[in-house]
Symmetry: C2
Subunit: 525 residues, 2 copies
């Protein structure tokens, strides 16, 4: 990953002319990119890891697998939220972990945790580094030092059960690696969040990730069959069957635990054969409410496609779901995308059932084209954000979920909160929204916000983020549907689970991490 932006260098490109023109018209910016800092010249906080601890930890993971190099520390300084990237691009000292460790396996992770627990060293688990909620911030929180545990060497497929449709993958396996490893067995995971190209199996589990094909293959937490977790108090191997009534489901306590309760080292997941057939079809709806009702009908009938999403009027108008055409000729209505995967018979049956429902609910068939466009550009949005940030535009996303009956209310409340918070600071704001994850009882809402950067764009965004979070809580949404809590959503965790819920989380934390070294400052208030 690039240290101060998303992804790989080859993914970055200047803004197309039509977007620059649009920015000039709407926000009055030139559209000219500013120069970025040179990596080597970025000052870091001094490493606070004592040499005796460095030596002891190096003895666990091997000397070559403990790094205090400038580049390693800088690349593990945090995640990829807009505030993260703005902070990276700003002058001044970057907070960075005191060292980065690259353990080889579960036992090395467990040994590192035991050592750090005994010696007051905070530990930040690190997968693909794609957190957008401050989940990777190297917060010291009173500890003597903070190290980052990069799990990239836990990168193997250790077990495949093609009959049961399950596979065990190491925590450090990235999305593309998982698909490559599974494809050798004719299998696929089907987990395609926007972070797919860089994020890892361990990170997906620890943050309850949800991919673009969640309507068909489920959220990542739904896919988890077994979880292996290392904690300072010992190891856990959770999950003894496809389902169980043997008490509380402890997998669900460690899924979403964001490195605060332990380090996920391996996950056994539900996988499926590489789809025999893929069919795509796009639809247009006259407005968001009609489109949302149509999606609801399909999901509640048990006829969900593999991918099912709906852009609102503003997002459709901006062509945000068609990356090569963003900012191009405005389009009316609301664009929906459907994809169907599986055996030929399954795709045919499901496609026919879903299409009939969408048409009956007011959808106009747009053919495969716009759905193919979406598929083609579906991992590109974070690169576009980087180009916008470079030209003085603030661009960030946030998301929530609620019941179908509350969806319009929540969408309006969050949109109003964002627009008011930004215009109140003196800049117009563009707020776009889409549904990308659907359930029988409700759906997610994903907001993209664009405004002109003010003098302190981090503070500017924080005002908007606070307003949006408060609106979500007040309107009955969940504070996060698939981005996790990290440091950024922690202020709302008590609203989410209540005072007693927080005490339960603290009790679990105390049982597995009595010294409190695991990912301080995240998740648990």
């Amino acid at each position: 990953m690039v240290w101060d932006a998303w992804g790989v260098p080859s993914g970055h490109a200047p803004l197309p002319d039509k977007i620059r023109t649009l920015l000039t018209q709407v926000f009055g910016v030139s559209g000219e990119p500013v120069a970025r800092r040179d990596e080597g010249g970025v000052p870091l906080s001094e490493s606070a890891l004592k040499s005796e601890h460095a030596a002891a930890l190096a003895a666990v993971v091997g000397v070559g697998n403990l790094s205090t190099a400038h580049g390693d520390r800088l690349r593990h300084a945090g995640g990829k939220s807009t505030p993260d990237l703005l902070r990276r691009r700003a002058d001044g000292v970057q907070a960075a972990p005191d060292a980065v460790l690259f353990p080889a396996d579960h036992d090395e992770v467990a040994a590192v945790l035991a050592y750090c627990s005994a010696h007051r060293i905070a530990v930040v688990p690190f997968g693909g580094g794609t957190s957008v909620v401050g989940g990777l911030d190297p917060i010291r929180d009173g500890f003597d030092a903070v190290i980052t545990l990069d799990l990239c060497r836990l990168d193997t497929l250790t077990e495949v059960d093609p009959v049961s449709g399950t596979a065990t993958l190491g925590a450090g396996v990235t999305g593309p690696q998982a698909e490559r490893l599974l494809a050798e067995h004719g299998l696929s995971l089907g987990h395609f969040p926007q972070s797919f190209e860089f994020a890892t199996i361990g990170g997906f589990a620890a943050t309850r990730s949800s991919g673009q094909a969640s309507a068909g293959y489920g959220r990542f937490d739904d896919m988890i069959q077994r979880l292996r977790v290392a904690t300072p108090a010992g190891s856990l191997d959770l999950g003894r069957g496809p389902a169980s009534a043997a008490g509380p489901d402890l997998r669900e306590l460690f899924a979403g635990s964001e490195g605060v309760f332990g380090v996920v080292t391996a996950v056994t997941l539900r996988v499926h054969p590489v789809p025999e057939t893929v069919a795509r079809q796009a639809w247009s709806f006259p407005d968001f409410a009609t489109g949302a009702a149509a999606l609801r009908t399909v999901v509640q009938a048990g006829a969900a496609p593999t991918v099912l999403r709906l852009s609102d009027e503003v997002e459709t108008g901006m062509n945000l779901a068609r990356s090569h055409d963003v900012g191009g000729r405005p389009v009316g209505g609301c664009l929906a995308v459907t994809t169907f995967e599986g055996t030929a018979a399954h795709v045919a049956a499901r496609h026919a059932e879903a299409s009939a429902l969408l048409a009956a609910a007011g959808g106009t068939d747009l053919g495969a084209g716009p759905a193919d466009d979406w598929e083609h550009g579906r991992f590109a949005a974070p690169y576009l954000r980087d180009a916008l940030l470079d030209t003085g535009i603030l661009c960030e996303t946030l998301e929530t979920a609620t019941s179908w009956s509350n969806l319009s209310t929540l969408k309006a409340a969050v949109t109003t909160a964002l627009v008011d918070a930004l215009t109140g600071q003196g800049t117009p704001a563009l707020v776009m929204c889409h549904i990308s994850h659907t359930y029988p009882a409700g759906a997610s809402l994903y907001f993209t916000v664009v405004a002109k950067q003010l003098d302190d764009p981090i503070a500017q965004w924080q005002v908007a983020k606070r307003a949006a979070g408060d609106a979500i809580v007040a309107s009955g949404g969940t504070i996060t549907h698939h981005h996790a809590v990290g440091a950024d959503h922690r202020p709302w965790m008590t609203d989410e689970v209540g005072e007693l819920g927080v005490r339960v989380l603290r009790a679990v934390k105390q049982a597995v991490d009595p010294a409190g070294i695991l990912n301080p400052g995240k998740l648990v208030p």
Copy 2:
């Protein structure tokens, strides 16, 4: 509920002649029922609840809602496992709660818990009284007294959201009550475990119940959107959306918590329109392995019917899935039952897809008849068990789940363990099995065991149960797929979740129930 047997008096009938003949041939028993004890003459343990506590608790729930009457205490003395019923029918003093309380609402439950926590009184939450794992045993565990909290007055539908397809039901609502209340809104829950006629919403949640239509509507834990729980440390209201990434899913910590972490007082559940169409079809497979592979293919293709079950050769031969014909003319092969529910279009599409897969996997179409028979008698088996127990036959069930690839191994290991344990005690045993819950990654196995009762049938069964439980654990199954842990499966909980998992459960318990009054002796080792 009858105090010493399953269900209502009208459900009980003498054994049909063909079964009596069979029992005489196989087990050498006469088939003549023995007389049962008269309820009034059953001696109970003396009530240990001090009068000052009784008065204080009566002040909370109202004088008429605290009972120390013989009949109330006897009817709350435990659940409905075979050992429970044998114990009920044996001579001697029955262990019973010191009082039975009938609170009206959440606040009264919370107030009772606060009082009992402050005064060392153990509390057993009680729904329909259908536990088959000792989950309701009035275990004192060193406390001064033990009361049972019967939730039958929390029996209302408090909220319906037809758009989102959700409804909030009180903990004491029974299965039939839930269907009646929802039917007034054109809705259905679709949760039909064998205990359906008596068990309650709170009990379903607290035990992770799974119904016969789980392939279509999911397990009960899948249906839970929101959970309201009273604990001695305060109340919880969990679940803020159809899905969330806001940390661990605490609903999954209280689902399956069996009254040990708190008392579930209300549950918001996913519901669906009363099905427009229902189609049933039965199939025959040459053997269990072929049938299981066929079911697997259907589920993994995403073409699951609403009901999907498969009896093994022995169960099919005994006609156990066709209640009016049990013990009748033996049938070869393995019977599978499918039911499809939903809109006409959905049923047609799903039925066609699933049938094609079942036929291609070696199934022979038997038409609707045997599936209708199964549907008709699907809640009758516990009554049959009572008639068998009365004639000197031991009859009990147990269940587990595992991956598809491990299914045959686990089935053989449990069958062998049961047969060996019973024949080792000098009586032949008949072990039947079916799959009644399927998942993409695996399935449940439900065993029915029949043998001749020895002098001490409880001890006789305990030997068999221990052997089966050990075999399940050794063969990688879960110790319970839908019956829960209670007192009976507690010896295997450490195998299920590990030492550290048990410590996590204890930490949660300590946070919500510091005095340890909630359902002592259950779930947590």
